[in-house]
């Protein structure tokens, strides 16, 4: 056996195990999904080819339209504020010292909690029946607010819960991005007499624009798939006012057992996420020089 052949075999031996799992548990289901979405299928193996009927049904489904609206509204209420707050926090906390270190720990802390625990906590914060906020309002002599049963308030309530839960990771990413900015740029800017605001706008933000792009892309994809908070806090209610697309997928597949239709909705969501991600990437990078 020649050395070159042995090297090739070594290559496959090292990457093979991952590729095997990747193919079996990701690529196979990915392809299966496209096939299933073209069938009338249930959870128990019944299959009937119906072409694009599932997709046609989705386009005319008022429940899906409502869920789509809810999901987009949630993403809009979550992603921009989350990015801005995380950026401000990272800028404030990107400094040495105990104070900043402790605060970093505090703002990272919620990210280790699972969605179950987050919703458990927030359900009892938001509930008008002796919840934390209700207690506060009562102390101020005001009536409690039924956040989770008012159709106009339920989406903002879920958004706030999600903001509280999701803040840590973006802060971490942006902090890491800030630490990549070479210090001598700041020194050069100081010598050039740049003020704080100029430094932020002309030096810091351009330097971390790729990190910010990453944060926005990851968060958009994550929030368009918002599921646990809605399912656990409200079950999608009241009257579907907080039903998200993924919650609807869950209901259609495991409540109504219409696997084919649920899969078609999932494929539409997949396409939407990819399109949005590419759009964001293009918007941010189109003016950049191609990187070597």
């Amino acid at each position: 056996m020649t050395a070159a052949l042995r090297d090739r075999l070594a290559g496959y031996a090292f990457v093979g195990p991952f590729l095997l799992v990747y193919a079996a548990v990701l690529i196979v289901p990915l392809v299966m999904g496209i096939v299933i979405s073209l069938h009338r299928a249930d959870l128990f193996g019944r299959r009937e080819w119906i072409g694009l009927d599932n997709y046609a049904q989705a386009l005319g489904d008022p429940v899906l339209h409502q869920a789509f609206g809810n999901t987009v509204l949630l993403a809009v209420l979550i992603v921009p504020p989350l990015t801005v707050i995380a950026l401000l926090l990272a800028l404030a906390l990107n400094r040495p010292g105990k104070f900043a270190a402790v605060l970093r720990g505090v703002f990272f802390s919620s990210l280790v909690l699972s969605v179950t625990i987050v919703t458990l906590i927030w359900r009892f914060i938001l509930t008008p029946d002796a919840g934390l906020i209700a207690e506060g309002l009562e102390a101020a002599g005001r009536a409690p607010i039924p956040f989770l049963s008012d159709p106009d308030l339920v989406i903002p309530a879920i958004a706030v819960t999600t903001l509280w839960w999701s803040l840590g990771f973006p802060v971490m990413l942006i902090l890491a991005g800030l630490q990549q900015v070479p210090g001598d740029i700041y020194e050069a800017a100081a010598l050039d007499g740049a003020g704080r605001w100029t430094v932020l706008r002309r030096i810091t933000l351009p330097a971390i624009r790729r990190t910010l792009l990453l944060v926005v892309m990851l968060q958009t994809a994550a929030q368009l798939q918002l599921f646990g908070q809605a399912q656990l806090l409200t079950g999608g209610g009241p009257g579907g006012a907080s039903r998200t697309i993924v919650l609807y997928i869950f209901e259609v597949s495991f409540g109504r057992w219409e696997l084919g239709y649920a899969t078609a909705i999932a494929e539409l969501l997949f396409g939407m996420i990819i399109a949005l991600t590419l759009l964001q990437y293009w918007l941010v990078t189109r003016h950049e020089e191609p990187r070597a």
């Binding site: 290559g11 090292f14 548990v25 999904g33 802390s109 890491a176 991005g177 969501l269 997949f270």
Partner: protein
């Protein structure tokens, strides 16, 4: 601007924000030490004594919580070990070895970063049903092992190690495996720690997949178990008991997080984000 003093208003805002972050957790902690009966009468009672450990005693006694805890530990540990092994092997292979279709395969792996869970979760549920993998540990662990991020992350990390080290080892007569095992792998420990913590965290907190894959209550992970308890808390257990469960379920993850915080921050600030 790095060393500049913070404006007092900024400090105030930061402290207020920290209060908003911490208040729910403190409140949860207090509730968990209140007896269910006392809370039934007045949930505002959380802010004053008497406090009790009866909720924690109840968890340790009868309920399924301990079984769920064990399940979560097994699944999260299995996922972490699996991801670390697979990503390290693949990362080394992609970063250092020459073989046909290397670039193509790497691009295919990277494309996985763009595939949201929703695109595969239903067909995967079908596939695992055919293979009889539901309600089993492999069934809960396997989906975590498809993550492209680990491979990407480890590949980048291996690439950042100077090639001179490989060459020195080759001249020292090391075989490919010795080179990987004794020289390069030990140098990736910071990356392993970061990747390990995030994998553990993600597997521990995963909800969607165990919700549909583990359907018998003795196979629930803590996340799913707590959700089921939350759904019917009115009938069975009290508020204090629920909150104690929440605190209890967060302890292992907090331990992992605190133990590895230094490595995470260092690795994220250093070679990780390039």
């Amino acid at each position: 601007m790095k060393g500049a003093r913070l404006h007092p208003l900024v400090v105030m805002a930061l402290l207020l924000g920290a209060g908003v972050m911490l208040a729910p957790m403190v409140w949860t902690l207090l509730l968990s030490f209140k007896s269910n009966a006392a809370l039934m009468a007045d949930s505002g009672a959380a802010f004053s004594g008497p406090y009790t450990l009866e909720n924690y005693a109840a968890i340790l006694k009868g309920s399924l919580t301990l079984q769920w805890l064990a399940n979560s530990l097994i699944v999260a540990t299995g996922a972490t070990v699996g991801v670390l092994v697979l990503s390290s092997l693949a990362g080394y292979g992609f970063a250092r070895l020459e073989f046909p279709f290397r670039r193509t395969l790497f691009v295919i792996v990277l494309l996985g970063l763009a595939v949201p869970e929703q695109a595969v979760i239903l067909p995967r549920h079908q596939l695992f049903a055919m293979l009889g993998l539901h309600n089993s540990y492999p069934g809960l662990i396997l989906p975590s092992l498809t993550g492209s991020f680990g491979v990407f992350f480890m590949t980048q990390y291996f690439r950042a190690i100077p090639k001179e080290l490989d060459e020195a080892a080759l001249l020292d007569g090391a075989s490919r495996f010795t080179l990987f095992w004794k020289v390069l792998l030990p140098l990736t420990f910071p990356a392993q720690a970061t990747l390990g913590v995030f994998t553990f965290l993600a597997a521990w907190n995963d909800y969607w997949w165990p919700l549909i894959s583990a359907t018998t209550s003795d196979r629930f992970t803590l996340t799913v178990g707590l959700a089921s308890a939350q759904m019917n808390y009115a009938q069975t257990s009290g508020l204090g008991f629920l909150m104690a469960q929440a605190v209890f379920a967060s302890i292992p993850i907090l331990v992992v997080y605190i133990a590895f915080q230094k490595q995470i921050v260092r690795a994220m600030a250093g070679t990780a984000v390039r």
